[in-house]
């Protein structure tokens, strides 16, 4: 029996089932469209709201008076408080790269290229991506939860009644702080990661220290560093926007949950969506840069 005839049989069995069970085809089709259409239209609506939220936040950044104090607070929260976790992650990432790189390269007799492999992997890919994911986990989740609690406890409504633009008050300082912190933390990640590779590659596995550092210096070009920074700027916008947006609209989730449950859903979806979009944008930017 050919594949086409199996398909036809299946279709007719389905059709007989539909007629037999008394459900009209028209209703079936309308239910099918409804099932597909509802989530799709709510997704489009949510995307539109996200874009409007993002543009409103960007538009408020240059509006006077500048919110220096709030920006500095956020730099402290997103940047300074994430520094330790970034340094720790980068050190071990570099050390693992050094070990894995050494065992892979030594089979081809090219272990001298370890410095290049570690530095380029970190600067082009791992540095921006892992930094963004670590900041999302530490600061992004807290951002979504904090704004979510503000929404649930009517603090955002209170801003509206006081004629204070809530998007400007809550979101704009976070975008600016993220744009400053992400590239800086990425730079820390790269430098400490290269040093981690040096520790495992040179001090543990015995690659010549000068060769390692020389390969790092030789292989890294300015375009690699700029590429990494472009990624970290984009990731800053992605993380700050998604995490703030999820918190801001914590009362408007698919499951109709409010209160603590609503905040928990907002935080979870902020972290998951930020991580997914970081990886998607990483691919898109890389495809333009290579």
């Amino acid at each position: 029996m050919s594949l086409v005839s199996i398909q036809y049989s299946c279709f007719f069995y389905f059709l007989f089932f539909v007629i037999d069970s008394g459900i009209s085809l028209k209703i079936m089709i309308s239910r099918l469209i409804e099932t597909i259409g509802n989530p799709f239209s709510s997704y489009i609506e949510s995307l539109g709201r996200l874009i409007r939220f993002f543009l409103a936040g960007i538009r408020q950044i240059p509006v006077l008076p500048f919110q220096w104090n709030k920006i500095l607070d956020q730099i402290g929260f997103i940047g300074a408080k994430s520094l330790f976790v970034i340094l720790l992650t980068s050190m071990f990432t570099g050390m693992v790269l050094g070990l894995q790189g050494y065992y892979s390269l030594v089979t081809f007799g090219s272990e001298a290229a370890l410095g290049s492999a570690v530095a380029l992997s970190l600067i082009r890919e791992l540095g921006p991506v892992l930094t963004a994911i670590m900041i999302t986990a530490r600061a992004g989740s807290a951002m979504a939860a904090e704004i979510g609690v503000m929404r649930m406890s009517e603090q955002i409504d209170a801003l509206v009644t006081m004629q204070i633009n809530p998007v400007r008050f809550i979101f704009s300082p976070r975008i600016v702080a993220a744009l400053i912190c992400f590239p800086l933390l990425t730079a820390f990640f790269d430098v400490v990661g290269i040093f981690g590779g040096f520790l495992s590659g040179s001090l543990l596995m015995g690659i010549n220290e000068t060769v390692y550092m020389d390969k790092v210096i030789q292989s890294v070009k300015m375009i690699d560093i700029w590429g990494g920074f472009i990624k970290s700027f984009v990731f800053a916008l992605v993380v700050a926007t998604i995490c703030s947006y999820r918190g801001y609209f914590a009362h408007m989730n698919n499951q109709g949950q409010t209160g603590a449950k609503g905040v928990s859903l907002a935080t979870t979806s902020a972290v998951v969506q930020s991580c997914i979009w970081i990886l998607i944008f990483d691919y898109v930017i890389t495809s333009f840069l290579v």
Binding site: E146, V149, M150, S153, E154, Q155, D157, A158, V160, T161, M162, Q163, I164, F169
Partner: protein, 253 residues
């Protein structure tokens, strides 16, 4: 006949399948205190949020000095809202700001007053509400009564023409509750603002009110003065203020 300051004209509001307001008609005159009473969940806060623009009516109209709130120009709407304060049921204080910063927020964010002017004004309101010396305390470090008074100070600090109080004395002991009532009365006399108060403090809150409105099943079923409601001539209102559920339900049947 003078034009009312705020007027609800046949306002309907629905949340999903739940119809909360079913044709509310209510007029509020300038410089008066109107108390809205009603069962919990009857839509009193929803009514207040229509005035401030946090909720939009599905049908009907909310008029501000004869003009529809939805048809005010952005400048007029801004001007109206600038002269209005809202005291939330759960205070809505910012937990990342100190008591002083919370009270000062409307001034620091929306006016060009100097830091010294703001400090003077905030400390004046704090002194009047007997909450001096808590400038650096965060809301989480304050008692329920203190938080209430901080929220009230924030509502009063801009010298508004209209203040909406959403259950301003919930959770307060009788002494503090009477204090808050006294303060509202004193401030209202002093500044002449219009007040709309949603409250369950029956009958104490009636002492403040020039007008009492009972919201029931989505409609204003009684409007009158303290004397009228206490005379118990309106069956539903009488049953409500005496807290007789059976009689209250029967009176509506």
């Amino acid at each position: 006949m003078t034009q009312p300051f705020i007027e609800f004209k046949n306002v309907y509001k629905r949340f999903g399948s739940l119809e909360v307001l079913k044709g509310v008609n209510l007029s509020i005159d300038k410089g008066t205190v109107t108390v809205v009473i009603g069962k919990s969940g009857s839509g009193k806060s929803v009514l207040l949020k229509h005035i401030v623009g946090l909720i939009q009516e599905d049908e009907g109209d909310v008029l501000i000095q004869g003009k529809s709130l939805n048809r005010l120009s952005s400048k007029q709407a801004r001007q109206f809202k600038k002269n209005m304060s809202y005291m939330f049921q759960d205070n809505a204080l910012f937990d990342f700001l100190t008591a002083f910063e919370n009270i000062a927020l409307p001034l620091t964010e929306t006016t060009r007053m100097t830091a010294a002017q703001i400090r003077k004004k905030v400390h004046d309101r704090m002194a009047r509400l007997s909450i001096e010396g808590i400038d650096d305390k965060y809301p989480s470090e304050l008692s329920g009564g203190m938080r209430k008074r901080v929220a009230m100070a924030r509502a009063l600090v801009t010298d508004p023409e209209l203040i909406l109080f959403d259950e301003p004395t919930t959770g307060l002991d009788p002494i503090r509750k009477n204090d808050v009532h006294h303060l509202i009365r004193e401030f209202q006399k002093q500044f002449g603002f219009t007040a709309v108060i949603v409250s369950h403090d029956i009958p104490d809150i009636f002492d403040l009110a020039q007008q009492i409105a009972l919201l029931d099943e989505g409609k204003i079923v009684f409007k009158g003065t303290r004397e009228e409601i206490m005379a118990c001539e309106h069956e539903t209102a009488c049953a409500f203020i005496r807290g007789r559920e059976v009689l209250y339900d029967r009176s509506k049947a």
